[in-house]
């Protein structure tokens, strides 16, 4: 009925600790213009404002935060859908923005994505087999027979029947569609898959299936994941490393166990306090943070979190806190430390 994934409490690590991708002080500013003919620049939205992290081989790095925190923009830069305004993104130690020709093609093949909504991410007019094989055939010309073999392996690996390759997407349920999207992402044997809220559109009983499948495929293929999620429980189950973002900045970064056992930034604490309990007897530390995430158009001075922070001090509204090491594995950007 169930498949064993791994015995470890966190997903096991397959890699040798080398990082696949490294982001160094990445920024993405979107210009805001006024006027039709004479477009004037009236401001900038700092969607991502100096974010650094690295994703290790065979590991899952998760970005958490509320809407508008820049997690999706970051993922889009990793996918090279968006070009960073500043900063360097390194892939296998090389600057990805300088890739041209074959190198760029290789990068695009090595970084794939699975999106939130499996109803809109699959072409309704294509058979599932063609959907899954499309990236493969675009990148590596191969014979029909060989392609079919690849297809059968992929279908089996994601838990679909062989005959289902002939079906159209509408014949599948949400969970099965997500399996198809995962098979498509795996077809090129990528190094990294960006998972943008991969289970939040699915039913509760299906979520566990897909999360277990992803963990199992990570073991099997040795692929890294960049997981974008707002549900902390999902993040805790899936990740090795977690980065917490608030209004375009990284506020805390640590391995998953460290982050959940020793959350340090007031925002991380608030997120955990606001997450729903798993049992009625669990009483959370009351940590009500008032207000909402301010507009990224005009973020608060100093620490972006200071207007909502229960531990706010005088310098918080003046000085930008920088990410500093709390321990060799744990970084936090807060004046309390």
């Amino acid at each position: 009925m169930t498949q064993a994934v791994s015995d470890a409490a966190t997903p096991s690590t397959n890699g040798n600790g080398n990082s696949i991708i490294e982001l160094e002080n990445i920024r993405k500013y979107f210009p805001i213009t006024r006027g039709v003919l004479l477009r004037r620049l009236v401001g900038e939205v700092k969607a991502v404002d100096g974010v650094s992290f690295q994703i290790k081989e065979g590991e899952t790095y998760s970005l958490v935060g509320e809407s508008g925190c820049g997690k999706t923009t970051t993922a889009r830069m990793v996918l090279q859908v968006e070009t960073p305004s500043e900063g360097v993104m390194k892939f296998n130690g090389k600057d990805a923005s300088r890739f041209t020709g074959p190198e760029r093609r290789e990068y695009r093949a090595s970084v794939q994505a699975v999106f939130q909504d499996p109803w809109s991410s699959l072409n309704p007019r294509m058979r599932v087999g063609s959907i899954i094989l499309e990236p493969l055939l675009t990148n590596q010309p191969m014979g029909k027979h060989e392609a079919q073999e690849h297809l059968q392996t992929l279908l089996r690996d994601v838990g679909l029947r062989q005959a289902q390759g002939e079906y159209y997407p509408h014949e599948f349920s949400g969970g099965q569609r997500q399996r198809i999207a995962i098979a498509r992402a795996l077809s090129l044997r990528p190094k990294l898959i960006v998972l943008d809220e991969p289970v939040s559109a699915l039913d509760v009983s299906i979520r566990a299936q897909i999360m277990n499948l992803l963990r199992q495929l990570q073991d099997q293929y040795g692929v890294s994941f960049l997981l974008i999620a707002h549900n902390l429980a999902t993040v805790r189950y899936m990740s090795h490393q977690v980065g917490v973002m608030y209004l375009g900045r990284m506020v805390e970064q640590a391995p998953v166990r460290e982050l959940f056992s020793n959350p340090s930034h007031p925002y991380t604490k608030a997120l955990i306090a606001a997450s729903l309990p798993s049992h009625p007897d669990i009483e959370r530390e009351e940590m009500v943070i008032s207000g909402e995430v301010p507009s990224p158009l005009n973020p608060p001075s100093g620490c972006h979190f200071h207007p909502r922070c229960p531990m706010v001090m005088e310098r918080c509204s003046v000085d930008d806190p920088v990410l500093r090491q709390l321990s060799p594995i744990h970084e936090v950007a807060c004046h309390l430390f």
């Binding site: 509760v204 429980a233 669990i282």
Partner: protein
């Protein structure tokens, strides 16, 4: 908090809501029974297609016409009166004043071309004796401040698009509270909100409940909301209630295999989980239900009887009822197939 009043304010008896389509009858709700007491919070949990939303629409008298029909013999008793026998105009008096509903998406439940103040007044005008516009406006502003909208005077003349999702949902809350309802149905009311905003909204609903003593039905797919908010829970599967019990009893001692499996398949923020149990398969199609138990093909304990006949509701005590053959002593130790 369970009120001392022992007379239920709402009784749903053998509710069956069917959709008559060209291809057959879809049994969206198929024999649902529960009571709701004043001041109580009942959670209705289930996956999509379990009939939880159709149950709440049936109570509101808003079943989609003409395909949807509440079948003969169903009863929805509000203070002892059968709502199904009320005329359309009588129901209009009850909806919004006695029984209110908050829906998931505050983008679509507010009218984009009226100010939020106007929309609160619209409901007040339906329900209030004092029709002078100044006093209506005062009351509307009072309601907006009751749901903790900052600067309610100036927010009164805002349009929905000028507000954030959390604020809009508060406005919907204010509209719901305008009639001072006895029963509030919150159908996935916080699903589209961010974590910290959801937390604020849930706390707000609890405060309003304590103040007014209304009963709340939380329709949700999230056990976390149930754990945090509810006194009693009904777990729905394929149009029926699989299990209903007090919240602690349900979490500590789930008796239906579906409830048990569902709880084990939810990831947890509070502790590390080695391996998440996953329920294989999918819920059955509602227009082609199997003859026996609807959960039989996904159930780890299934035996012959389950495939032949739908199990009866078994009460292990007066407040804990589950529909499973294994709860009948005769079958208690039946080997799984």
């Amino acid at each position: 908090m369970v009120a001392a009043d022992t007379r239920p304010i709402l009784e749903v008896k053998d509710l069956r809501t069917y959709f008559h389509t060209r291809t057959g009858v879809v049994k969206a709700v198929d024999g649902v029974n529960f009571e709701l007491y004043p001041g109580e919070t009942l959670g209705v949990v289930g996956e999509s297609g379990s009939g939880k939303s159709m149950t709440s629409l049936s109570i509101m008298g808003l079943v989609p016409q003409p395909a949807g029909r509440i079948e003969e013999g169903s009863q929805i008793l509000y203070r002892g009166e059968n709502l199904l026998e009320k005329s359309a105009s009588e129901m209009r008096q009850i909806r919004g004043k006695e029984i209110c509903m908050i829906l998931q998406d505050p983008m679509t439940s507010l009218n984009p071309v009226y100010t939020v103040g106007n929309q609160v007044i619209e409901t007040l005008r339906q329900n209030d004796d004092d029709q002078r516009s100044t006093s209506l406006k005062e009351k509307a502003i009072e309601l907006l401040s009751k749901v903790k909208i900052p600067a309610p005077d100036s927010r009164f003349s805002n349009f929905p698009h000028q507000m954030s999702g959390g604020m809009r949902q508060r406005v919907v809350g204010a509209i719901a509270m305008a009639g001072a309802p006895n029963v509030l149905i919150a159908d996935e009311a916080t699903t589209s909100l961010d974590a910290t905003i959801q937390y604020q909204y849930l706390s707000l609903l609890k405060e309003l409940q304590e103040e007014t003593g209304m009963a709340i039905i939380f329709v949700t797919h999230d056990f976390g909301i149930v754990a945090k908010m509810c006194d009693r829970v009904a777990v729905m599967y394929a149009g029926r209630i699989a299990e209903i019990a007090d919240v602690r009893e349900l979490f500590n001692n789930p008796q239906h295999p579906y409830t048990e499996a569902l709880m084990r398949s939810v990831p947890n923020v509070d502790e590390d989980i080695d391996f998440l149990y996953s329920i294989e398969g999918q819920p059955p199609a509602l227009d082609n239900l199997p003859p026996g138990c609807t959960f039989a093909d996904r159930c780890p304990y299934v035996f012959d009887k389950c495939l032949e006949e739908f199990p009866p509701a078994v009460a292990s005590d007066a407040r804990h009822i589950a529909t499973c053959w294994r709860l009948i002593p005769e079958f208690a130790n039946q080997e799984a197939r």
